[in-house]
C-alpha cells in the first residue's frame, strides 16, 4: 500500500528508509561514545565494538516502538537488539582485530576484506536480534544484517580507514559519516531483506496504525508457527502484533499460528469469555484457517491477512 494512499509512515519503503535513519543515528551515537572513550588493548576493542554494536542495534530495533509510540516496545525491542548488538560488537571487533593482525603484511585488498568481514559479523548479529525479537525468521535478520555490514563496512573501510582522526572537524566528520552509514546500511538491509522475503503479513486498515504492515512470517511458518503463535492484542509487553488505541482490543485478544496444516487465527479464552469481537470476513470465529486476503476484525481494528502465494503454493 503506497504511503500516499494509506497515509502510513511505517509500511514498505518507508520502513526500510526509517531503519536506515535510525541505524545511522545509532551508528552516530556509537561513534560519539567511542570517540570519547580511551581504553587500551583488547579491552578497548571489546568496549568499542560493544558500544558501536549496541547503538546500531538500538537504533534498528527501536523502530516499531517509535512507530506505534510505545516506550515499552522501544525498551523491549530496542533493548533486545541493543544487547545482541553489544554482544556482537564485543565479539566481532576483537575477533577481527586478531584476524587483521595476522594479515598485516598482506595487500590492501586482503586487509579491506578482513576489515569488512568484521562489519559483516557485527551486522549479522544485530540483524539476528531483529529476527529473534520480531515476526521475521532469525535467518532473514541475520542475512539482512550481513548484507548491511558488507555494504556499510565496505564504505567504512574505504572512507573511514583512509581518513585521519587527528581531531579536526573535517576528519571527525568523515569518520562519523562512515560509521553512521555503516549503522544505516545494517538497519536498512535488515528491513529490506525481512520485507522482501516475508511469507505472510497483516495490513492494519484503520485506527492509529492504519497502513502498517506487520510481518508474521515466523508465526505462520510450518515449524516455528506450530511451536509458538504470535499474540494479537493491546499489551505493549506481551503482544507480538500490537494494536494500540482501540479500547475494544484486549491485551491478549487472539493469536496467529500454524495449526492443522494452515495459518490459523485463534480467539484467546479471555476474548471468548468477554465476547470481544474476533471476526474473519465479518463472521465471528474462535479458530479459523486463514486465506490470502481474509479481513480480520479484532475489536474495532480491521486487518487484512496477506501471504506470498508463490511461496505458499
Amino acid at each position: 500500500m503506497s504511503p500516499a494512499r494509506s497515509g502510513s509512515l511505517t509500511g514498505g519503503a518507508n520502513r526500510i528508509y526509517y531503519y536506515f535513519v535510525l541505524g545511522a543515528m545509532g551508528g552516530l551515537v556509537g561513534w560519539y561514545f567511542t570517540a570519547m572513550v580511551t581504553v587500551a588493548g583488547v579491552a578497548s576493542q571489546v568496549v568499542l565494538g560493544g558500544l558501536l554494536g549496541a547503538s546500531i542495534g538500538l537504533g534498528a530495533g527501536a523502530f516499531d516502538g517509535i512507530a506505534c509510540g510505545s516506550m515499552a516496545r522501544i525498551v523491549k525491542f530496542g533493548g533486545t537488539s541493543l544487547l545482541l548488538g553489544l554482544a556482537a560488537g564485543a565479539i566481532a571487533l576483537p575477533l577481527v582485530q586478531t584476524l587483521y593482525g595476522s594479515v598485516s603484511q598482506a595487500d590492501s585488498v586482503t586487509r579491506f576484506s578482513i576489515g569488512t568481514l568484521c562489519w559483516i559479523v557485527l551486522g549479522g548479529l544485530i540483524g539476528l536480534g531483529e529476527g529473534v525479537s520480531k515476526g521475521s525468521q532469525p535467518w532473514k535478520g541475520l542475512l539482512g544484517g550481513m548484507i548491511g555490514g558488507a555494504l556499510g563496512g565496505g564504505i567504512y573501510e574505504a572512507v573511514g580507514r583512509s581518513t585521519a582522526s587527528t581531531g579536526s572537524v573535517a576528519e571527525q566528520s568523515v569518520l562519523a559519516f562512515a560509521v553512521s552509514t555503516l549503522g544505516g546500511f545494517i538497519g536498512s538491509s535488515v528491513a529490506l531483506v525481512t520485507t522482501v522475503l516475508k511469507d505472510a503479513w497483516l495490513v492494519i486498515e484503520n485506527g492509529k496504525l492504519a497502513g502498517t504492515e506487520i510481518n508474521i512470517s515466523k508465526y505462520v511458518h510450518r515449524d516455528l508457527g506450530s511451536r509458538r503463535a504470535g499474540i494479537i492484542g493491546s499489551s505493549q509487553w506481551d503482544a507480538n502484533i500490537y494494536l494500540p488505541g482501540d479500547s475494544d482490543v484486549l491485551p491478549k485478544h487472539a493469536s496467529i499460528g500454524y495449526r492443522d496444516g494452515a495459518p490459523t487465527l485463534t480467539a484467546l479464552p479471555l476474548a471468548i469469555q468477554r465476547r470481544a469481537k474476533t471476526l474473519v470476513n465479518g463472521r465471528p470465529v474462535t479458530v479459523w484457517p486463514l486465506s490470502n486476503g481474509d479481513r480480520l476484525q479484532i475489536g474495532s481494528t480491521t486487518l487484512q491477512y496477506r501471504q506470498n502465494l508463490k511461496k505458499r503454493g
Binding site: S44, Q105, S108, T166
Partner: protein, 547 residues
C-alpha cells in the same frame, strides 16, 4: 608499537594517524572528495627513536629507461623498529611519492603540516617488492700493492693492517648466512678466499694475506675490477667492496701517451660499468690517500675514477679516507694515526654494509609527461606511512635536454612525522560533528511525513474540487451514477440538490453520488479509471453517509 595493533579501534577511540582530508563541505560528496584527494598530513616531527621506526636507504637511486616513455627510478631500503628488528609490514598502499611536493611546514609547537601540491607518482601494487632475501653475498677486493705499507716522513703507514682490522669488523657485522669472497690485487687479481659463509675462515685468509713480491710493484686497478665483476656475475654476487690506495699503475698504462690516458681511463670505466650492469653488480669503492696530490706522488689516490665507477654502478659517491688530514691530526702519534685510520675504515664499511641488507625495493614509475626535462633540480619525496608515523625520503634529480639519464642525488631520510595516538579529539569538535549529523538525520526522518502531508493536502484540494452540489443547470442532472446504473430506475439518477463526486480524472469525469464514491473505497467506479480521492469524513457525516 606493533604493526598488528590499532587497525580498527584506533579509528574510533585513539584517533590514530592516517592520511587526512583538510576541508569538509557541508555536503557529503565533498566529504568523500576531500578524503580521497587531499594528501595533506599533520603530525609531530620527532627523532626516529621516539617514532619507533627508522627508515634506512640502501644504496642510491637507480634510474632506468629515462630515454623511453616509461622512465623508472628504483631504490632499496629497510625499516627497523626501535629494537633494531626489521619491520616487514609495509604495503604499497602505505607508500606515496610526489615530485616537487612543497616542503612541510614545521610550527613552533613542532607540529608539521604538509601543504598540498606537487605531482603524484602513482604507486601500483607491484611497485613495492619485499625482498626479504635473507642472506647476501659480498665480494671484497683489497689492494695488495706495495703502497699499502709505506714509510712516510720516517713513519710507517700500514694501511693494509688497518684495512684488515676494519674487514674483521665488517665480517663480524655480516649475517650468519651471508657469504663473502675476497680478492687481492697488485699487478694481477687473485682470490684469497673463495665465496663461503664461514666468517672465521675469511678472517684467517685476511690475516694470512701479505704483500707479495715482485707483483706488488704495480697496481692493475682496472683489470682487477673487471676480474672481480666477472667473477661476481658468475657467482651471483651483487655487491663488491673495492678498496685501494692508488691508481692504475701498470706498464701498459704507464707507456700510454699522457694525452691518451684520460680516454683510456674512461673507456675502461665504461667497460666495467657495462659489465656490472649486466650482472646487477654494485661496486662500492674506498680510496685511501690524497686525492689532491699529483698522480706521480706516492700518496695519490685516483678518487675520480673510483667515484665515477661507484656512481655508475651503485649510484653512490666513492668513500674517501683523507690520509694527509689524518696524518696532521695525529702528528707524532703513530698509534693514534693507525687507530683513526681503522676507525674511519670501519665506519665506511659499516655504512656500505647497510646497502646490502634491505627489505624493500621501491620502483617509482613517474608519468613521463610529469618529468621536467629542464636541466633544473626537482625534488622527489617518498613517504612510507606506518601506524603512527610517516617516514619521508627525499632525493633530487636534474634531467637535461638531450640526455637519456638524469643526475640523481643520494637519498636523504627526513625526520619522521609522528602522530600522538592518545590524542583525543576536542569534545567541542565531537559534539559539533555529532550535532551536524544528527540534524541531517532528523531532517531525513522528517522527509516522509512532509511528503505525506503534502500529498494529503493535494488530495484534499482535489477532493474539494471534486465534490459539488448539483445545481439547477448542472450538466450532471439525469446522468447515471456508475454504482447504480440505470437498471435501478430513474430515482437513482443524479438530480438537483444531490452532493456528488465528479471523478477528477480528465479522461473520466464521471459523476458519482458521494455515498457511492465512498462505498467504493473512495475510488472511481469506472473500471478503466479507479482514480482514488479520499473524501473528508466531516463532509460524509454532513451528508449522512455511514463510514
Amino acid at each position: 608499537m606493533c604493526d598488528t595493533d590499532m587497525k580498527i579501534d584506533s579509528r574510533l577511540a585513539r584517533q590514530s594517524p592516517k592520511l587526512s582530508c583538510r576541508l569538509l563541505g557541508m555536503f557529503l560528496p565533498l566529504v568523500f572528495a576531500a578524503a580521497q584527494t587531499d594528501p595533506a598530513v599533520q603530525g609531530i616531527q620527532t627523532p626516529s627513536d621516539q617514532a619507533g621506526f627508522s627508515l634506512k636507504t640502501a644504496g642510491g637511486i637507480e634510474p632506468y629507461n629515462w630515454g623511453t616513455a616509461n622512465p623508472i627510478m628504483r631504490f632499496n631500503f629497510s625499516i627497523e623498529r626501535s629494537d633494531r628488528t626489521l619491520f616487514n609490514g609495509l604495503a604499497p598502499g602505505n607508500v606515496r611519492a610526489a615530485i616537487d611536493e612543497p616542503e612541510p611546514i614545521v610550527g613552533q609547537d613542532g607540529r608539521v603540516t604538509q601543504p598540498p601540491g606537487g605531482v603524484a607518482i602513482p604507486i601500483h601494487p607491484g611497485d613495492l617488492q619485499i625482498t626479504s632475501a635473507g642472506s647476501v653475498s659480498v665480494m671484497l677486493v683489497i689492494d695488495g700493492s706495495g703502497s699499502m705499507v709505506t714509510q712516510r716522513s720516517g713513519q710507517s703507514i700500514d694501511k693494509l693492517s688497518a684495512a684488515k682490522a676494519a674487514i674483521y669488523d665488517f665480517l663480524d657485522g655480516l649475517h650468519a648466512d651471508d657469504k663473502v669472497a675476497i680478492i687481492a690485487f697488485d699487478d694481477a687479481p687473485r682470490f684469497i678466499f673463495a665465496l663461503n659463509a664461514s666468517k672465521s675462515a675469511a678472517k684467517t685468509a685476511v690475516a694470512n694475506f701479505a704483500i707479495r713480491q715482485p707483483g706488488a710493484k704495480y697496481t692493475a686497478l682496472y683489470d682487477s675490477m673487471k676480474f672481480a665483476v666477472e667473477k661476481a656475475r658468475d657467482l651471483g654476487v651483487h655487491h663488491i667492496v673495492f678498496l685501494t690506495d692508488g691508481m692504475e699503475d701498470t706498464l701498459r698504462f704507464n707507456r700510454l701517451d699522457p694525452s691518451h690516458k684520460d680516454a683510456y681511463r674512461l673507456e675502461r670505466e665504461r667497460e666495467i660499468a657495462s659489465l656490472a650492469h649486466t650482472g646487477d653488480v654494485h661496486i662500492y669503492t674506498i680510496g685511501i690517500g690524497d686525492r689532491n696530490a699529483k698522480p706521480s706522488d706516492m700518496a695519490f689516490v685516483d678518487f675520480d675514477t673510483l667515484s665515477r665507477i661507484s656512481k655508475q654502478t651503485a649510484q653512490l659517491d666513492a668513500n674517501y679516507v683523507n690520509l694527509p688530514k689524518l696524518a696532521r691530526e695525529n702528528q707524532n702519534n703513530p698509534a693514534g694515526f693507525h687507530a683513526s685510520l681503522v676507525a674511519q675504515l670501519k665506519s665506511i664499511l659499516t655504512e656500505i654494509s647497510k646497502a646490502f641488507h634491505f627489505d624493500y625495493t621501491l620502483v617509482l614509475r613517474p608519468i613521463r609527461s610529469t618529468l621536467p626535462q629542464d636541466g633544473t633540480s626537482h625534488m622527489v619525496t617518498v613517504v612510507c606511512s606506518l601506524e603512527k608515523v610517516q617516514l619521508p625520503v627525499r632525493f633530487s634529480f636534474v634531467w637535461s635536454r638531450g640526455s637519456d639519464t638524469p643526475e640523481i642525488s643520494a637519498p636523504h631520510v627526513g625526520k619522521p612525522i609522528f602522530y600522538k595516538l592518545d590524542q583525543k579529539a576536542n569534545p567541542v569538535t565531537l559534539i559539533t560533528v555529532c550535532l551536524i549529523f544528527f540534524s541531517i538525520l532528523i531532517l531525513m526522518a522528517l522527509i516522509p511525513p512532509l511528503l505525506l502531508w503534502m500529498a494529503k493536502r493535494k488530495q484534499v484540494s482535489v477532493a474539494n474540487q471534486a465534490v459539488i452540489t448539483v445545481g439547477d443547470r448542472s450538466p450532471h442532472i439525469g446522468k447515471e451514477c456508475p454504482n447504480e446504473l440505470s437498471h435501478l430506475g430513474r430515482d437513482y439518477l443524479i438530480k438537483k440538490g444531490d452532493v456528488i463526486v465528479v471523478c477528477p480524472n480528465p479522461e473520466c469525469e464521471t459523476a458519482h453520488h458521494v455515498g457511492c464514491w465512498h462505498l467504493g473505497d473512495d475510488m472511481c467506479w469506472v473500471r478503466t479509471c479507479k482514480r482514488y480521492v479520499p473524501i473528508d469524513p466531516m463532509l460524509l457525516d454532513a451528508q449522512g453517509v455511514e463510514d
